[in-house]
Amino acid sequence: MKKTILFGGSGFFGPILLKKYPNIISVGRTKPPKGVKNTHINISNLNNLKKLDQIKFDKVIFLIGSSNHHIINKNINIGIKYNFDPMIKIMEYLKNKKIKKFICFTTILLYQNNKSSKKVSETNRTNPYENNYIFSKHLLEEVVNFYKDKVPSIVVRLSNIYGYSKLKRPDLVPTLMQKVFKKKKINVWNDKPVRDFIFAEDAADAVVKLLNSKFTGVINLGSGESNSVKKLINTISKYSNKKIGTLNKKVTGPYKFLTNINLLKKITKWKPKYSLEKGLLKTYNIMKNY
């Protein structure tokens, strides 16, 4: 049987996915962290993809890219370098490989012009020009769409994914977790926004189910649930016995931003196993031991 390969096994989501699915081969220049036992093939950079010819693979999970919107929003060239260029390189390599499925990731923020508080679905109009970060993800989608006849692909528009990680990331949950183990006083910017938080282990199951489905195209991935930042910080407070306050500062994005995941459920029959409380508890317990 042909294998599945995964790019980006040393990032945030990669290690969690690899650990759940030990048969997936990790490829890239950095090994996945300790505790992830999957086979790893060193590829020094994306100009060196011919090295992959030695592996018989027919499915690809591509997690290369930057989700650091703070940096990209300051400099579009970073977005081009980390989100657009790698996609051209991998597609140029895969276009003659006759693979079965390619999965890559963008963001539900692409729908960010959505004025109503209804859940966003794949048929909603996107607003690719909102900022550098969203735009770089939009360009990536354009590239994937261009190669679709040669590389059957799924673009996953991901909601707010969270989980355990040793990496220093600008996202809310890992930042808070890292702070509760160190600092006394912790504050979030604002606790009112409502978002779709999805636990990374649930997301990993959904991705693998999608990989084995016949679907190609754009699809949302989230928990389908809405939770406020307030609920999230209260839950972390409960587990850590640390008080988390709010600065009540102005939020730039919308207050309520939710994901419709009906298409995903229909195609994969997947549903999340972790509630926000359960997911945060697991995250807390694992990160406590780092």
Binding site: I76, N77, I80, F84, D85, I88, E92, P128, Y129, N131, F135, H138, L139, E142, V143, F146
Partner: protein, 297 residues
């Protein structure tokens, strides 16, 4: 007006420059590859395109900037998408970054192409869904995206011209040139495709006039797209027959039937959007235009 033309040594760029100069405008032409000395432009410079060099050029405070630079050969693009990325896309981003940082007020017009539409046999309207099929086309589409992004977010005046098949003296590729070259040099030749492919063919002088009128009248472009086309459609077969008639030669030809990977069946233009801005134009008679082109060889 003070006008800057990046890519002003190319086919459309040089005609545009000449016409502006003849109308008394001050024109600066820049190229990232080579300068055609035969053009005898007073201000014709070869520069390395990067943010720094663009920033320096922008200090001249142009009224109008045309970006016609970059690879225009689909065969080259097919072989190497990275070449187009470098010469067409990344350089253009550098220009827009420089414009953003200098808060440039110049109106920038980007030369895109009909090829962004991809496979679609209807008369093509600017708001149609795009399905590019070639490397050349996807890079043009990405550039269009970047035009919209910069104009919407950074207060820049940027317009997009989707230029349809343009022919005339001086063009060294595409179907009209290829056919004339074959008729002039061969007794027996092959024509790519079935001959039934339809294109909106426009004569260079008409296209230049349309572009100049558009950029004069549409003064606040914010990512708007315009088809630059005459609205006159001909099949390859019709063009071929007209050229053979003009040549007065006895030639034999066959069709390859198969098209190249980057060719699509039809590119038929709907030019009503530009006509609304510039008014109805009297376009060159196709027979006369083809004869002028044939005679220029």
């Amino acid at each position: 007006m003070k006008i800057c033309i990046f890519g002003g040594n190319g086919f459309i760029g040089s005609s545009l420059a000449k016409t502006y100069i003849n109308n008394g405008h001050k024109v600066f032409v820049y190229s990232q590859t080579k300068i055609n000395k035969n053009l005898n432009f007073k201000n014709n410079y070869k520069v390395n395109y990067n943010e720094k060099s663009f920033a320096k050029i922008l200090k001249k405070n142009f009224d109008l900037i045309y970006f016609l630079s970059g690879n225009s050969n689909q065969e080259t693009s097919k072989k190497d998408i990275y070449y187009d990325l470098e010469t067409s896309f990344l350089t253009f981003v550098e220009l827009l970054e420089a414009s953003k940082k200098s808060k440039s007020k110049s109106r920038i017009w980007f030369a895109s192409s009909v090829v962004v539409y991809g496979v679609n046999n209807k008369p093509l309207r600017e708001d149609f869904e795009l399905n590019p099929v070639s490397n050349y086309a996807i890079i043009k589409l990405i550039c269009e995206n970047i035009c919209k992004f910069y104009s919407k977010n950074f207060n820049l005046n940027i317009g997009i011209m989707r230029i349809f098949s343009t022919f005339g003296p001086g063009l060294k590729r595409q179907v009209v040139f290829d056919t004339i070259r074959k008729i002039r040099t061969l007794k027996n030749f092959k024509v790519i495709g079935s001959g039934n492919e339809k294109r909106n063919f426009a004569y260079i002088d008409d296209q230049v006039k349309s572009i100049m009128l558009l950029t004069k009248k549409f003064t606040k472009p914010r990512g708007e797209i315009f088809n630059i086309a005459s609205g006159k459609t001909f099949s390859i077969k019709q063009i071929l027959k007209k050229l053979i008639k003009i040549s007065n030669k006895n030639v034999a030809y066959t069709y390859t039937k198969k098209r190249r990977s980057f060719d699509t069946k039809n590119f038929i233009a709907n030019n009503s959007k530009i006509v609304k801005i510039i008014g109805k134009q009297k376009y060159a008679n196709i027979n006369n235009a083809l004869k002028k082109t044939f005679d220029s060889f």
